[in-house]
């Protein structure tokens, strides 16, 4: 079997590729150049696709003795991930670009190209398992990435190999040392959004969307409490950074309840007002390939590394509705709702509303 190992220059993808080699697969390493203007060095745990990362990936491939190439996916990444990210914020939603990248780049553009070039599958360093073809959480709950993979279809998953799902991150690092992958073994975990190198999402959005002053409004009274520089700067459930000069009458903290791009308004209110028990989504994907029948007793996850929420999921046409067993706060449109049974992913949808 000929496989393409996507190698970011990090420890996970290097060990994943190594395990694929050990499994007897014919492995070719590919580094995806996603940045149009690659920085030469990585700073801290943020950013990706620096020249240094590309070299680290190449060095890991050399250690493994596999061919290695760099694929320029920068234009695709810009259009499908970064532009989408900005557009989603402009529309008052909170996107997850990792999910989008998996859906549009790694398991679509890259996978399609790999298949066309004669490869059978793509190997990545994601922490997740495929058990009988079903997407399943990693054994390392803290590092589990099944949430960001839950947008993949059965066809995509059938051409994916995740060699790390049975291992903890700690074990992966130790294995990298043992394998002589010294250059990547102790690289810091990547956090935050890879294309926002300094981690300042607000600044990034402001540079692209510009200042757009608008009102911050009390949700219950309709009173204007303050001004903001751009509604895109706010996320449902956000408490910090509201800069409201007048305290609430009851003296309790106020939270962002909703963002309305049409009139550029951010509505705030009490924590209780954040409580929702019904979540709706579209763009439904059943990762197992089959659409389940009837109401589904399950748990759902509504943000990356979020907790599991017991729920009953039903389908209304091509929309998914989750009735939560208990109230949950701060559910933002644009994030994914991922449906699990036990550790197994059943499917996902993009959140459109919560009430």
């Amino acid at each position: 079997m000929r496989v393409l190992a996507a190698m970011s220059g990090g420890v996970d993808s290097a060990v994943a590729a190594a395990r694929a080699v050990d499994a007897g697969l014919d492995v070719t390493g590919v580094h995806l150049a996603l940045s149009r203007n690659a920085q030469s060095h990585r700073t801290g745990a943020r950013g990706c696709c620096t020249i240094e990362d590309s070299r680290d990936a190449r060095r890991a491939a050399d250690v493994l003795g596999i061919p290695f190439y760099v694929w320029d996916m920068a234009d695709r990444f810009h259009e499908d991930v970064i532009d989408n990210f900005v557009a989603e914020y402009a529309a008052g939603r909170t996107p997850n670009p990792c999910l989008r990248c998996n859906e549009k780049i790694k398991f679509s553009a890259v996978l399609d190209r790999a298949v066309a070039l004669g490869f059978d599958a793509v190997v990545t360093g994601h922490h997740a398992r495929l058990l009988d073809g079903l997407l399943t959480r990693s054994v390392d709950a803290a590092k589990d990435q099944s949430y960001v993979l839950a947008v993949l279809t059965r066809e995509q998953l059938d051409r994916s190999i995740f060699p790390l799902g049975d291992s903890t991150k700690e074990l992966v690092r130790a294995e990298a040392h043992e394998r002589g992958l010294a250059g990547v073994a102790d690289k810091p975990d990547s956090h935050d959004i890879c294309f926002i190198a300094d981690g300042d999402t607000q600044k990034f959005l402001r540079q692209r969307l510009g200042d757009a002053k608008g009102d911050i409004v009390d949700d219950s009274t309709g009173e204007v409490l303050g001004q903001h520089d751009g509604a895109f700067g706010y996320t449902i459930g956000q408490r910090k950074g509201l800069a409201l000069t007048r305290p609430a009458p009851d003296g309790r903290p106020r939270y962002v309840l909703s963002i309305t791009p049409v009139n550029n308004t951010v509505r705030v209110g009490s924590a209780e007002a954040l409580d929702v028990s019904t979540v709706e989504g579209d763009r439904v994907v059943w990762t197992g390939g089959e659409r389940p029948q009837g109401p589904i007793e399950c748990v759902v996850q509504v943000r990356a590394h979020g907790k599991e929420l017991p729920a009953v999921v039903t389908l209304r046409g091509d929309r998914l509705v989750a009735q939560l067993r208990g109230p949950e706060r701060g559910i933002a449109s644009g994030q994914a709702i991922v449906v699990y049974r036990g550790d197994t992913v059943l499917g996902s949808a993009t959140i459109t509303a919560a009430a």
């Binding site: 070719t28 580094h31 150049a33 690659a38 030469s40 696709c49 620096t50 020249i51 590309s54 190449r58 061919p67 190439y69 760099v70 694929w71 320029d72 996916m73 920068a74 234009d75 695709r76 553009a109 399609d112 190209r113 066309a116 070039l117 004669g118």
Partner: protein, 367 residues
């Protein structure tokens, strides 16, 4: 490396001695260096004192371009738009940091310099730099004509002859150029050693200051075994040039004919002649060059796309763009290089693998 160059390298590397030392071992090392200088000078039609050893092509090009620019204190530089990056980026650096104004000389659709674009009026030209033969598409440049223009205007002409030596006749004095870059690894010598042939009357400001070892234009302890092996290689390829060029031209023409037969949509880039004997360069419409590279590499056929940036991303070739290709066509191209180890069986293997690779690459599409 050529076996005789490697032998010479190993033999010399066993000896101790700094060519700048005054004791016996030092004098022996110096003897090796000066003999090598004489051999290279004789092989390339230069005087020994005109051979300045460097660390290779990039340094030779930088020394010529920046050194002559600084020494001449004139603002204009004329450079062809298809130079190797070692010249291109040195010229751009002068443009960005030293206030040079640059005439980027255009080429025709075969990659041949447009001589009519050379304007040396005004007395403000520091130097002209045009490669002897292009490394990507193999086009041989009208160096003799250009040298006549330069001489008439009293402007030094530098030529990067790295691709030319050993493949076409190269004679420094007869060519009329003022400076010429050569390097070891492109002609069967070692990596990391090369030379700038610099006319005795051509001033160049050093890039590297120090012991002044090479005519005070280039400092640094000389790599004695490297220089010796370089000289052996230069001498060998120049001696064999005619015969090897004839052999490679036949082989290359066979490659071109059979590739065009196997993949009828393919288009040859660069002229049929005059062209470097070992060079063939094609565009494969609908394919990405790097996809073809991956597929052929998997069958042990080593080919090249243009150049890669620091991150390893294949860039559309500036040479093809200068020849009028659009970026998509430029990215669909591939270079096949034949050398002293190439055989007719290599052509058979390529032609056997290529059509299927092109099919696959086309299906993979463009990015």
């Amino acid at each position: 490396m050529l076996p005789q160059a490697l032998d010479a390298y190993v033999e010399t590397a066993r000896e101790v001695g700094n060519a700048s030392s005054l004791h016996g071992p030092g004098r022996l090392a110096r003897k090796h260096i000066e003999e090598s200088r004489e051999r290279i000078a004789a092989a390339l039609g230069a005087r020994p004192s005109e051979v300045i050893f460097t660390s290779g092509g990039t340094e030779s090009d930088n020394l010529a371009v920046k050194g002559i620019y600084w020494a001449r204190r004139r603002p204009r530089v004329l450079a062809s738009s298809i130079e190797h990056h070692a010249v291109l980026d040195a010229v751009r650096w002068l443009e960005d940091h030293e206030e040079a104004t640059v005439d980027w000389l255009p080429v025709d659709s075969d990659g041949r310099l447009e001589l009519a674009s050379v304007n040396l009026d005004g007395g403000d030209v520091a130097l002209i730099t045009v490669m002897w033969a292009n490394n990507e598409v193999g086009t041989i440049q009208p160096i003799a004509e250009l040298a006549a223009l330069a001489a008439a205007a009293g402007v030094p002409l530098h030529t990067d002859a790295i691709q030319a030596v050993g493949h076409v006749p190269v004679d420094f004095a007869a060519s009329g150029v003022s400076a010429m870059s050569v390097t070891g690894h492109k002609l069967g010598g070692p990596y990391g050693v090369g030379a700038l042939l610099l006319g005795r009357d051509v001033a160049s400001t050093p890039l590297l200051h120090g012991g002044g070892q090479e005519r005070d234009v280039r400092s640094g302890t000389l790599d004695v075994p490297g220089v010796v092996a370089f000289a052996v290689a230069v001498e060998h390829v120049v001696k064999e040039q005619q015969e090897e060029a004839a052999r490679l031209t036949l082989l290359r023409d066979e490659l071109i004919a059979r590739v065009l037969e196997a993949v009828p949509e393919a288009a040859l880039n660069g002229p049929a002649t005059p062209r470097l004997p070992g060079n063939a360069h094609f565009s494969f419409p609908g394919c990405e060059g790097d996809a073809l590279l991956l597929l052929l590499d998997a069958q042990q056929i080593a080919v090249s796309t243009g150049s890669a940036c620091n991150a390893g991303v294949a860039q559309p070739s500036h040479v093809l763009l200068a020849m009028g290709a659009d970026p998509v066509a430029a990215r669909s191209s591939l270079r096949f290089t034949l050398g002293h180890t190439s055989t007719p069986e290599d052509i058979d293997a390529l032609v056997a693998a290529l059509p299927a690779a092109v099919d696959r690459a086309r299906r993979a599409g463009t990015f």
